[in-house]
Amino acid sequence: MSQKEWPLWEVFIRSKQGLDHKHVGSLHAADAEMAIQNARDVYTRRLEGVSIWVVESKHVHASNPDDAQAFYEPANDKIYRHPTFYQVPDSIKHM
């Protein structure tokens, strides 16, 4: 008899029609179908969702937290990407 552990799945729920799926947590399941059924039981018992996505955790590639500084730092000094960088005269509407 196989002692293999069920793989881990990441669960994404669309909480309301029209919105993005958001990561809510993970669970173990033997396959995708079971993962969706389990996700329904674990994560949507109180009408938290209208749609479920599951992705096997091994397929998720994450950025390295150690690289965070070098990775995100270049955006720091580019404040001109924000609309608040520009002065709009008070009398100008719709901008």
Binding site: Q17, Y86, M95
Partner: protein
Amino acid sequence: METLELTQEEQFQARIDADMRIEPKDWMPDAYRKTLIRQISQHAHSELVGMLPEGNWITRAPSLKRKSILLAKVQDEAGHGLYLYSAAETLGTSRDQMLADLHSGKAKYSSIFNYPTLSWADMGCVGWLVDGAAILNQVPLCRTSYGPYARAMVRVCKEESFHQRQGFEIMQTLCEGSPEQKAMAQEGLNRWWWPTLMMFGPKDSESPNTAQSMNWRIKRFTNDELRQKFVDMMVPQAEFLGLTVPDPNLKWNEAKQGYDFGDVDWEEFWNVVKGNGMCNKERLQARVQAHEEGAWVREAALAHAEKRQQREAAKAAAA
């Protein structure tokens, strides 16, 4: 016994009428899918080709500050293209197919980008007028019926607001500058005003698909409604800048609480749409050239990924 069952198509329309979103796995009529693929990919192509007229001025921006801003704006437009291509892909078309259609001339993009950017004031005009028009078009699309499209538009709109402001700031700086700079701003407005009004598309009476698109809520205002809104919004801004809108028929209409304005040169519009605008050939050529010259990069990246995979597999086997 009479059945109260709705057909698939009636159910679909009922969801749209209730302002619900249609998602990729939901049933949808073929015509809805096809129209959306055309609309979203055209929109994506416009973002992509739209980088060219502004890219033209990155190396010649008058200061490091303006250069950084312009670079950031053009970079945003590339991102907008990406969001939109991805939204179209959820409908079953592929990125390669869409690009092939753009490059062969089969697919259209906004005719505004077939006009040349001749002076620095044109960077002001593009941001202020062209992005201003795009925003008017895009804000209602944040509530469009197709979920992935609506969500892409939310991201786009968030990023657009700085585009228009930086354009207005360029105009304001020129208008408060020397007489030559002010004249440059006016000359820019003279050239960009009418092509921008054309961005909203043909007159409602000549836009036979509008009714169906409004019904499907993939269009939320008619072309003429948006054009009117745009004029009403822009005229006071031009007045603030001390610029003259190049339309002798422009006049405030107290009764309709909006401006009356002259008719667009529709012959010019259709001529540009058909490919005979000032820059149609140049734009398409630049796109095709960029794609062809980038082929080796795409191939090299794949080869590199494959090599890394093999290396890691070998490492795992040895362990």
